[in-house]
């Protein structure tokens, strides 16, 4: 049975030796994912906060995000390899993944700030908080769950897409899939695909826990707490603003 063979393939001692041992490929896969999401976060969070805090530039951000989402990552990666040069393949791939990750994080950052009750921010300003204090003491903590939601969907998109790095010889878990495709070795392809699924679920799980933890105490206390028994799904949906701007 193919499925069973794939699992045996994953746990075979042969996977620890050779030119591309599995732990190395998993490490590469995770590294591409984490580095790309981190770089995207460094770019997108400040921009998203600027938009969310000032309420300006939202249309532009939605437009650019929408356009970035429409770009096919595979084509973009190949184009970047051609543009930057074949010696810079890791850079080209990383840029493609960063561009893929930015829209979700950007949306998470500004949507997190936008959904805060305007009266709360008005009150913070009226009692004498500076704009920085409003951002750090009010907007960031109250917007954190949605920002984490944005990071969560960005990480999921990237972890799935890093697979294409194998096509340009950068390793990661795409490598066994591409190689398996050429050799018509479906066991190997399925084994690597299963590992990617496990990675994706693990990342999703970690972010789900973080997202749960960062909901500010006072927001979960009282009324909102009543939603909890039914809400682990709902919270995830609320916290994943990737559809923002598509409609």
């Amino acid at each position: 049975m193919l499925f069973w063979d794939a699992i045996l393939w994953i746990f075979s001692p042969d996977r620890l030796t050779g030119s591309s041992p599995l732990p190395l490929l998993i490490g590469q896969h995770l590294a591409y994912t984490l580095v790309s999401v981190a770089i995207a976060a460094v770019i997108a969070i400040p921009v998203g906060y600027l938009i969310g805090h000032t309420g300006r530039g939202r249309e532009i951000a939605v437009g650019i995000s929408g356009a970035a989402r429409a770009l096919p990552s595979f084509g973009l990666m190949l184009l970047l390899v051609l543009l930057i040069g074949v010696t810079q393949k890791p850079l080209a791939a990383t840029i493609a993944f960063v561009i893929l990750a930015i829209p979700s994080i950007l949306a998470g950052a500004y949507a997190g700030l936008e959904q805060i009750d305007r009266r709360v921010i008005d009150a913070a300003r009226a009692v004498g908080m500076t704009e920085w204090q409003i951002l750090w003491k009010v907007e960031v903590p109250l917007g954190l769950p949605l920002l984490i939601g944005g990071l969560r969907s960005a990480a999921l998109q990237v972890v799935a897409t890093v697979t294409i790095a194998g096509y340009i010889g950068l390793g990661a878990l795409g490598l066994p899939i591409i190689a398996g495709l050429e050799l018509r070795d479906f066991t190997r392809m399925l084994g690597a695909a299963l590992l990617i699924v496990v990675l994706a679920l693990a990342i999703d799980g970690v972010f789900a826990v973080i997202q749960h933890l960062v909901v500010p105490r006072g927001v979960t206390a009282g009324r909102v707490a009543d939603l909890r028994p039914t809400s682990s799904r709902r919270r995830a949906v609320m916290g994943t603003p990737i559809e923002e701007g598509r409609g």
């Binding site: 009750d117 009266r119 709360v120 008005d122 009150a123 913070a124 300003r125 009226a126 009692v127 004498g128 908080m129 500076t130 204090q133 003491k137 009010v138 903590p141 109250l142 500010p216 105490r217 006072g218 927001v219 206390a221 009282g222 009324r223 909102v224």
Partner: protein, 273 residues
């Protein structure tokens, strides 16, 4: 003392919220701005702490133009209480109250100790200090809002329809509390409401506003009731045919007062039977 001199405000959408408004708000008294929605009363209030900037005219506090003050510093020196309490949902009650002192550099411990005392001042149990706003009733949240407004010990307290969203019984309670606080703490209170009863109850000086913050009448409640300046005022305060249009009705057991609908409003006290 707060003084408005020929202040106007035109919002970017073209609304003339305030048109050539001048008023002196005396120190250590309660001045109530009262009017229906669209009378610009909240705009006037928010101009005092520069949450809204006038389009023209001047506002002075104790003879000093507020434009010469940094808005953030100015706001920290003025207490502000708003309708929905405006508490920060992720701060405990005690930290909400201590917000402004901590912003101005008071050590956290001192600020919290003072905040606990302020909970006493506004009649809240200290047990509530570690709750979050969403765990309090509307009336309790409003009291926390007042405590926060008082926390930096400001001379001026701005109150923007602070009791508009609580039920009538709690509102009556909070109104009495406000009168007591003003008597004890001697602040300059500027209070905005659309409720003329509340205005007459709380105000030393009542300012009745028409559309565009045009002053219909300024005076003590007594002065206004005794001598309404216009039909608009008489209508607004209900002495033409509202619940303040009282007539004496002789009954077998003495005189009672009835309103324009003929409903009993009270008895004529001190009359020999």
């Amino acid at each position: 003392m707060i003084e408005f001199r020929s202040v106007s405000k035109v919002f970017p959408d073209g609304t003339h919220a305030v048109d050539d408004f001048s008023l002196v708000i005396p120190a250590r008294k309660t001045t109530v701005l009262v009017g229906s929605s669209g009378s610009g009363k909240t705009t006037l209030l928010r101009m005092i702490n520069r949450m809204v900037e006038p389009s023209s005219g001047e506002i002075e506090i104790d003879g000093e133009s507020i434009l010469s003050r940094d808005p953030v510093q100015l706001r920290r020196s003025i207490g502000y209480v708003m309708q929905n309490s405006g508490l920060l949902p992720h701060f405990k009650v005690i930290d909400n109250v201590a917000t402004v002192p901590i912003l101005t550099g008071v050590p956290r411990k001192t600020a919290r100790a003072q905040a606990l005392e302020l909970l006493d001042t506004v009649g809240l149990n200290r047990d509530l200090a570690n709750r979050y706003p969403s765990q309090l009733s509307g009336g309790q949240q409003q009291r926390v809002g007042v405590a926060r407004g008082l926390a930096a010990n400001p001379n001026i307290l701005l109150m923007d329809e602070p009791f508009g969203a609580v039920d009538p019984i709690v509102r009556a309670d909070l109104q009495q509390e406000t009168i007591r606080l003003q008597r004890d703490l001697d602040k300059t209170v500027v209070f905005v409401t659309h409720d003329i009863d509340e205005a007459f109850l709380l105000g030393d000086q009542v300012v009745i506003l028409e559309k565009g913050a045009k002053i219909a009448q300024v005076g003590s409640p007594t002065e206004i009731v005794e001598n309404p300046a216009s039909d608009f005022v008489a209508d607004f305060i209900g002495i033409k045919h509202g619940k303040r249009a009282l007539t004496i009705k002789k009954t077998a057991h003495g005189s009672i007062l009835v309103d324009s609908e003929g409903r009993a409003a009270g008895v004529l006290a001190g009359e020999a039977p």
